[in-house]
């Protein structure tokens, strides 16, 4: 079912911010989310950000870039970002699109993401149980 999402709430669980994107996001609301996450971290420090995209049916290059920029911005504010719950159809499409989400940590679901943040608080790429960032998948 297609549902537009006007505003994405940012929830706090101890020192982790949890963002669940549901439905289709208008460009301006994706950009607003980017600002909201970083403002939350600056207001009240967080060590991690988990972005749940399990309800997102389409990630195009715009939303992919926003996710990568949230992760990069949060990193500058000393918080790690993990994108959780990407649908297989979205993963297949992103690879074919050639979207290189370099440096973006992913987890299969929110629970795994929270565990990763707890067990591996230091940034480390390509750990066990973690899907690595996409390398160049272009033709």
């Amino acid at each position: 079912m297609w549902l537009p999402q006007a505003h994405v709430p940012v929830l706090r669980l101890d020192d982790v911010l949890l963002v669940a994107i549901q439905g289709d996001l208008q460009d301006k609301n994706a950009e607003r989310l980017q600002y909201d996450v970083l403002r939350h971290i600056a207001d009240n420090p967080a060590t991690g950000v988990v972005i749940d995209i399990s309800s997102v049916e389409v990630v195009d290059s715009f939303l992919g870039r926003v996710l990568a920029e949230i992760a990069a911005g949060a990193g500058l504010l000393a918080a790690q970002t993990i994108v959780a719950g990407m649908r297989p159809t979205v993963a297949i499409t992103l690879v074919e699109l050639g979207l290189t989400l370099t440096g973006l940590r992913t987890a299969l679901d929110v629970q795994s993401a929270l565990r990763m943040l707890r067990e591996h608080p230091a940034p480390a790429a390509r750990e066990h149980g973690e899907r690595g960032a996409y390398d160049n998948d272009r033709d």
Binding site: W2, D24, D27, S61, F62, R65, T89, I92, T93, L97
Partner: protein
């Protein structure tokens, strides 16, 4: 239009404006609906909607807005969705350059055109500097029928 033999039966096209990022959402919704109607698999639906989102944003950002025309095609047992994105913007002077990954004249990743082409079966770009750009893409249910190379 209804014809016989191997000619293509076309459903009535729907036309949607591309004037704002809100319109991009309507485009994605409509393309998803048509892909479902054409009984595309979930992967095919996702690829087509993603390609449409890239191309519609291209129309909006680089073409200064325009419209999308969407049609379900039937050829025998084969079904396809055809999408035409048209703008009357500045056009593309160097099509090869615009199609290459990493090239961007805007603020994006430069994956829009080349990426969208990889997601669909047929991709045709018509553009002339000063006369706008028209991009036509077709995706077939289950793959391109052997009798048909391009539309």
């Amino acid at each position: 239009m209804t014809t016989t033999g191997t000619d293509t039966h076309r459903g009535s096209p729907t036309c949607l404006p591309i004037r704002s990022d809100m319109d991009l959402m309507w485009i994605r919704q409509e393309v998803r609906r048509l892909a479902t109607e054409a009984q595309f698999s979930l992967v095919q639906q996702t690829k087509l909607v993603t390609a449409a989102s890239e191309l519609a944003r291209n129309t909006l950002v680089h073409g200064g807005g325009g419209h999308m025309e969407a049609t379900v095609l039937n050829e025998g047992v084969h079904t396809a969705v055809r999408l035409v994105f048209a703008d009357s913007g500045p056009g593309i002077a160097d099509v090869d350059q615009a199609m290459s990954d990493g090239y961007t004249s805007g603020g994006g990743l430069g994956l829009g055109l080349g990426g969208a082409r990889r997601l669909v079966h047929d991709f045709r770009l018509d553009s002339e500097p000063g006369r706008g750009t028209t991009i036509t893409v077709v995706m077939w249910h289950g793959g391109v029928p052997p009798t048909r190379q391009a539309i």
